[in-house]
Symmetry: C2
Subunit: 239 residues, 2 copies
DNA sequence: GCAAAAGTGTTAAACTTACACCCATGC
DNA sequence: GCATGGGTGTAAGTTTAACACTTTTGC
């Protein structure tokens, strides 16, 4: 039972699995550690939780430092607590998944940060249990994106349906019928058609769309309405 | 960035949201704290993580102590780390959801444990942020049970389709058409029909079924095949 | 004009839903 | 024999999936 005085106290950290999409494929943001141990090895972006912040606060702070961006999509993934996961000292780490619009991302100057985008399928070896974290994040992304529109977080403010399709195809490593894909996405009513077209990737050009943020927030959990939404309150389900 | 020596070290605990089903409605197992602070107040079952165990180990140990049972369905729910969540000393807690067959459960003797099953909808006030944990666990259970057959974990080895339907109806606080419910469950091929009937709740009697454990493990994530299962590898997705 | 990508139309198949109906049995 | 819950049948409505077809425009 709980007896406070006798208990061990541990280090408590956060690590962020940061996904981006460059228009072609999914990317993962990694840094080269600037200090020992494992200096020079590749690692997730992370840091220790400070005295007056929660793990969520710490992860947001780390992301803000790295990207200069606020309001990034972020959710708790899993907590890793194997006694030997950190070779220096026992450390528990809460892993977070973050989705960012790669075009809005600007690398901030920081002596310790040397972040690089890697393809999600070909990245260097990672320290500690960071590969486990990345693998789990990839699984959860695929799972969740099949049910909810969170991949929209990865696109710029203006995007086309074919670009969105390219993103889905990259996440699921498959192809979709463009007609059916477009109708399915549009049927969610989450997108607003804009007046102008992207003419870079075709002669005809594809209309730009933007996310209807209001509907997005309200309908996030109803997206592919797998269950009559009278049953699952759409407001607040599983972070 | 990470500099180990300067960091605060924190207490690290687990708390278990233990769900059971008594044939009528969903229950939640709570204990009355046997020590200060908040002695006598109701609380989730929990404990501190020891030096040589992970949070998962700790949660399994706590459950084993309480119920005498091994191999209980358990999954990480969320980590709670608000700086002021524990009034005594800053403590980070990993919450776990556990599903147990209430009939297999036997209260173990333990000076500190006074566990009681409460209706999931009418339970006493809880200490710290335990209500938040319970609410989140309920949401996630409803979410996940709509997609995967995990409610089977709550039933005894032998059960009838109407009993399973009662369980689903209790979780979603609704009613289902019995014909459609039975066909949908059976279409998963996760159940094996037994030779004998339960005659307690009807004159005709309802056939007993048991879980086909092999199919259950293989098809857990494919259950209500919301996405063509060629897309979501069914083997390992989201704990 | 033609190639290439965007987008629409169409249809068969599959699945869902509601509800009527039959079944087995204890009283 | 009839009330009760278990279980099957069935048809209308909806959704999905495959793919043919039309549109637009740069070259």
């Amino acid at each position: 039972m709980k007896r406070y005085s006798l208990q061990t106290r541990l280090l408590f950290a956060v690590d962020c699995i940061i996904f981006g999409f460059d228009g072609q494929e999914m990317k993962l943001l990694l840094i080269q550690r600037g200090f020992e141990p494992c200096k020079g090895k590749w690692s997730l972006v992370g840091g220790f939780v400070q005295e007056n912040e929660s793990a969520e606060d710490a992860a947001a702070r780390v992301l803000k430092n790295l990207t200069g961006l606020d309001g990034i999509y972020m959710e708790q993934l899993h907590t890793f607590s194997a006694p030997d996961r950190d070779s220096v000292e026992r450390t528990v780490s809460v892993a977070f998944t973050a989705l960012i619009d790669i075009q809005r991302y600007k690398e901030q100057l920081h002596e310790d940060f040397h972040p690089v985008w890697f393809s999600i399928n070909r990245h260097p070896e990672l320290i500690f249990d960071h590969k486990k974290m990345v693998d789990l994040a990839k699984e959860k992304l695929r799972y969740k994106a099949a049910l909810h529109p969170l991949l929209l977080e990865l696109l710029p403010d203006k995007f086309t349906i074919p670009q969105l399709q390219q993103l889905y195809e990259s996440v699921y490593n498959t192809t979709f019928d463009k007609g059916n894909f477009s109708r399915k996405i549009l049927s969610t009513k989450l997108l607003v058609k804009l007046a102008d077209k992207d003419k870079l990737s075709s002669k005809k050009g594809a209309f730009y769309y933007k996310v209807d943020r209001k509907r997005y927030n309200v309908n996030f959990y109803a997206f592919l309405n797998f269950v009559p939404d009278t049953l699952l309150q759409r407001s607040a389900i599983v972070r």
